[in-house]
Amino acid sequence: MAKSGLLSSSLSKKYAMAATGLFLCLFLAGHLAGNLQLFIGGIQGQTAFNEYAHFMTTNPAVKLLSYLTYFSILFHAVDGVVLTVQNRRARPVRYAKERPAENAGWSSRNMMLLGTVMLVFIVVHMQNFWWKMHFGVVPTQMVEGVEMHDLHSVVMAFFGPENLYAMPAAGLYVVAMAAMGFHLWHGFESSFQSLGLRFDKFTPLIRGFGRTFSVVVPFLFAAIVVFIFVTQS
């Protein structure tokens, strides 16, 4: 037992959570940068977004990153479930009276719940766009002689009036982004703690950055959805 493998220890599981979590934050930043083009109106915006989507699906380096992302999401989720199950087992009988808010923030105590909401969202979101993009029938647009999937129109249509479920879908997206915000509020800073990156001068910066990130990024994602929903209807 003494020299067990890297992943069997409780700490190693945390390192994995932290590393995948931080990687997914990078992914979020990239994803958001692309999505922000949805704010651009007219043909110009359509072209820019479709070029971006085309790049994301064809570039081999991005391809590799995307597999890493899928892996990270899966790993992060599975590892999270394993940790949660172990944690439940570590306290088989619960207290009759608990006052958890006295000593810990709400987000930090509900990472599993928040993560589950996000996972449901990711499945729905992948079905909505990723699946369509890869396996569905998608209109195309010619850009400088290259035929590209017109994902822009798919997005507009998805949140447009012709989709009966646009309203609940937009609602789900906004809720999911709120969950993501709370998840990041704890998760970003926590990742650094898990990796042992805690120093007097550095940690306040990380906390500040993490909290800004956890508010701004989900807000912008949600704002795009609301923007499209409002402008399309």
Binding site: S10, A90, Y95, P100, E102, N103, A104, G196
Partner: protein, 250 residues
Amino acid sequence: MNFTLKIWRQDGPKSPGRMVTYPVTGISDEMSFLEMIDVLNDQLVRNGDEPVAFDHDCREGICGMCSMFINGEAHGPNRLTTTCQLHMRSFKDGETIYIEPWRAAAFPIIRDLVVDRSAMDRVMQSGGYVSVNTSGNTVDANALPIPKPAADEAFQAAACIGCGACVATCKNASAMLFVSAKVSQLALLPQGQPERLNRAESMVEQMDLEGFGNCTNTGACEVECPVGISLDHIARMNRDFLHAKVAKKG
């Protein structure tokens, strides 16, 4: 002052337990929480009932033996305070007070509020020491100057009283604060360097074997710790363990 106490009663390790309600009256606000339990037990004995079993010894906040989960918090509502140093003036007259044992799979109940914390001893036995024989023939104590900040921080970590409040309060019943306090204390001192990485590795392994939960960095342990052990120590242990796993030879 009068109180309604709701106390966990459990005859033995295997018996079922339940919350039982007891009224106590005529409590002075000068009394410590444990003296209030003494008063209850005195009444119970006089009535021919069995008193509530609870752990306690020094009653001055240093031995780490007292261990009650009071009104949903380890060692009760006050910060930086053990149960024995909690006084009744911290409660409102007429209040209902829940008193439960530390709850963790690694801390099986012996009786009522008494739990078995020997898991913590076993973690210490797995590496919470400097391997030096007690011959007295070491180097002169001043031969190795230790910068005051390092000595002070090591002291902060070493102040852990081993009560288990961190485990009791953590939603995951994790013992990270306890384990890291010792790992960190010795990591901060020159005497602890030779075994530093091994120590982190073996103590964490023993901690996992004992069935404590995983740390999710909620920080509850730091808030409830009666001596204010900092999360800095957990981070230091995280670093050392990672270092051990990635870079250690052999």
